[in-house]
């Protein structure tokens, strides 16, 4: 969680310095979700993610250097620089990308799960999406199809209460998304999205059921984005007091507090971890800055597969 937090804080600096461009959607405040869910997944399981996916990618174990180089659009990036912040891919880790069409990743996830089912493989596909995706027709289509075909998908709805600037209550007649998902005939429950331990427990329980053939499961992870939707917005759509209230539930502080109280960690050790991560990130930035760009002659590469003829 701390790696994700520090990585993104560095991204803010780099964006301000025009080192990285495009849209950059920060996950700060939601880190417990990516980390907790990933605890339930093995290396053969798959992840389909959204455009707010730095946290998912780092939690999955994609190297910091590779993600940072992608932010820089460099050839050494995890998507050869072709994707940028919104399209991180690492197929060796079965990370099938940040998808920047809201809801657009859901059909891919059910297809990956369908392939696993047809090939007799006991794998789980975790599909992340936000509360905004619940308004898309694809959401309805995919919930139904996954339940109808009993596909091994773990739906992870990151409900941060806002689809960009539109509050959930302004977009949905039924704001209890776990209740909504249950109507498709799949086990579904809400989870405190600021509590990494609760998330891990729920995700493990759900993933185990999915893996055992019990069909899709749905977790509504109730979380909050501390920063703007993308790099900057005036945040006219929510009260500062509301943001402050959620910040008091910072998932990193909460875990650190719990561990301190249990005597599992002290301030010195925490500071050492932070300093170690900062060093990793600094080195990743240096490497990314020095890395080569994709040659312009390769502009049309990766449009079609290489042909033998």
């Amino acid at each position: 969680m701390l790696l994700i937090r520090q990585f993104e804080e560095k991204c803010v600096e780099l964006y301000s310095a025009s080192e990285i461009r495009g849209f950059v959607h920060l996950y700060i405040g939601e880190e417990a979700v990516a980390v907790g869910v990933n605890q339930a997944l093995g290396p053969d399981d798959a992840i389909v993610s959204t455009y707010r996916e730095h946290g998912h990618a780092l939690a999955r174990g994609i190297p910091v250097e590779s993600v940072m180089a992608e932010m820089y659009g460099k050839a050494t990036g995890c998507s050869h620089g072709r994707g940028g912040s919104m399209h991180l891919f690492d197929v060796a880790r079965r990370f099938y990308g940040g998808n920047a069409i809201v809801g657009g990743g859901l059909p891919l996830a059910i297809g990956l799960a369908l392939a696993d089912r047809m090939r007799g493989q006991s794998r789980v596909t975790a599909c992340f999406f936000g509360d905004g995706a619940v308004a898309e027709g694809e959401f309805h289509e995919c919930m139904n199809l996954a339940a109808l075909w009993s596909l091994p998908v773990l739906f992870c709805c990151e409900n941060n209460l806002y689809a960009m600037g539109t509050a959930l209550a302004r977009a949905q007649a039924q704001t209890d998304l776990a209740v909504r998902a249950a109507t498709y005939g799949m086990p579904s429950w809400p989870v405190d999205g600021m509590d990494v331990v609760a998330i891990e427990q729920a995700a493990c329980r759900a993933a185990e059921a999915v893996r055992s053939g019990a069909g899709p499961h749905f977790l509504e992870l109730r979380t909050y984005r501390f920063r703007a939707h993308s790099m900057y917005d005036p945040e006219l759509y929510r009260d500062k007091a509301e943001v402050q209230e959620w910040k008091r539930r910072d998932p990193i502080e909460a875990l650190a507090g719990r561990m301190r109280a249990a005597g599992e960690i002290d301030d010195e050790e925490l500071a050492a971890i932070g300093s170690d991560l900062a060093g990793q990130i600094t080195r990743a930035v240096e490497a990314a800055a020095a890395a080569p760009l994709e040659p312009v002659e390769d502009l049309t590469r990766f449009v079609y597969s290489p042909r033998s003829s």
Binding site: S79, Y96, G104, P107, M118, R119, E138, V303
Partner: protein, 329 residues
């Protein structure tokens, strides 16, 4: 002429034989779409395959084009070789997001880490009085998209042979089957099999004018060529077969010899595939032309229901003949 090694068949049966062969040859292949199983396919292409291959591989879906096309993409990523059937090209618009933003794009966005070996089949075209939401020819739109390969089988051989080659392609292939062709009957060699999906074909040789057609307009171009022949004008007829990538070489070789070109395309004229072919001829063979390139396309109107108006909206043999005559002066 029927020989012992040939048999009478139809375009529909040839498509079905292609599907059956693919399902038999490769256990990763499965067919998925609306009413492909119990109903037997909206146009009866998959009739009987459910009994033969079972519901896992002949998979009926809900009316959820975006979900099942996207699931086809995901299944392709997961190691399967899906054939997704969409009832008509108009319905494919409900899945356009998945086709464009995922199927055509994932390879590039991922820096070449993934490819999408998916085949999507759909019906296209007019001529059956199905009015304005079941009759359009939008394959030209799809041919605009880098990352896709677009096929338009117009003959029994291509109906039989394009599917297997498409399934062997590592990238997404869309096959457009013109609705008027399913009952096309003829003789097909019993050993007919895979065909290339790269090149255009000369369906009729000639030296006076080149008629360029594909899919549902090929038959009309052939009929026009016959009529022109009666007047001493020998038209060469090109069947584009593959709409993306276009086979420029075959087009240009013919046009530089005939010095005249007429493009027949059921798409709307503005921004049509015919416009693209015309532009390529202009770019690469301008000084070989003896007349402006002619286009015979659909009128710029949503397809009307009554027969006489539908006929008037579509490319027809007399319009092709008239256009060809104009080019020869």
């Amino acid at each position: 002429m029927t020989t012992p090694s040939a048999a009478k068949t139809t375009y529909r049966e040839a498509m079905r034989a292609a599907l059956r062969e693919a399902l038999q040859r490769d256990e990763r292949v499965f067919l998925m779409g609306e009413d492909v199983g119990r109903y037997g396919g909206c146009f009866a292409v998959s009739l009987g395959l459910l009994d033969e291959f079972g519901p896992e591989r002949i998979r009926d879906t809900p009316l959820s084009e975006s979900a099942f096309v996207g699931a086809g993409i995901g299944a392709a990523l997961g190691g399967m070789r899906p054939v997704v059937e969409i009832m008509t090209v108009n319905f494919s618009l409900l899945a356009l997001d998945q086709i464009l933003n995922n199927a055509a794009t994932l390879q590039h966005m991922s820096g070449g880490q993934i490819n999408v070996p998916l085949v999507i089949r759909m019906t296209t075209g007019a001529g059956r009085q199905l009015a304005a939401q079941h009759s359009h020819s939008l394959e030209g739109w799809y041919a605009h998209i880098p990352g896709l390969r677009i096929l338009a089988p117009a003959t029994l051989e291509d109906a039989r042979g394009m599917l297997w080659t498409a399934l062997e392609d590592p990238d997404p292939v869309l096959i457009f089957e013109h609705g008027s062709l399913y009952n096309l009957a003829g003789v097909l060699a019993e050993d007919a099999g895979a065909v290339d999906i790269d090149s255009a074909a000369i369906r009729r040789p000639g030296q006076d004018v080149t008629l360029i057609a594909y899919g549902g307009t090929l038959g009309k171009a052939m009929a026009a060529a016959e009529e022109l022949s009666g007047d001493g004008i020998e038209a060469e007829v090109i069947d584009l077969r593959t709409l993306r990538p276009l086979d420029d070489a075959t087009i240009l070789t013919s046009v530089t010899a005939s010095h005249r070109a007429v493009i027949v395309d059921e798409g709307w004229r503005s921004g049509s595939l015919a416009a693209e072919v015309s532009a390529r001829i202009m770019e690469q063979a301008f000084y070989d032309l003896d007349a402006p390139v002619e286009r015979v396309c659909s009128a710029e109107v949503p397809m009307p229901y009554p027969r006489h108006l539908e006929d008037a909206a579509l490319p027809q043999v007399p319009r092709i003949v008239a256009a060809a005559r104009r080019t020869v002066g």
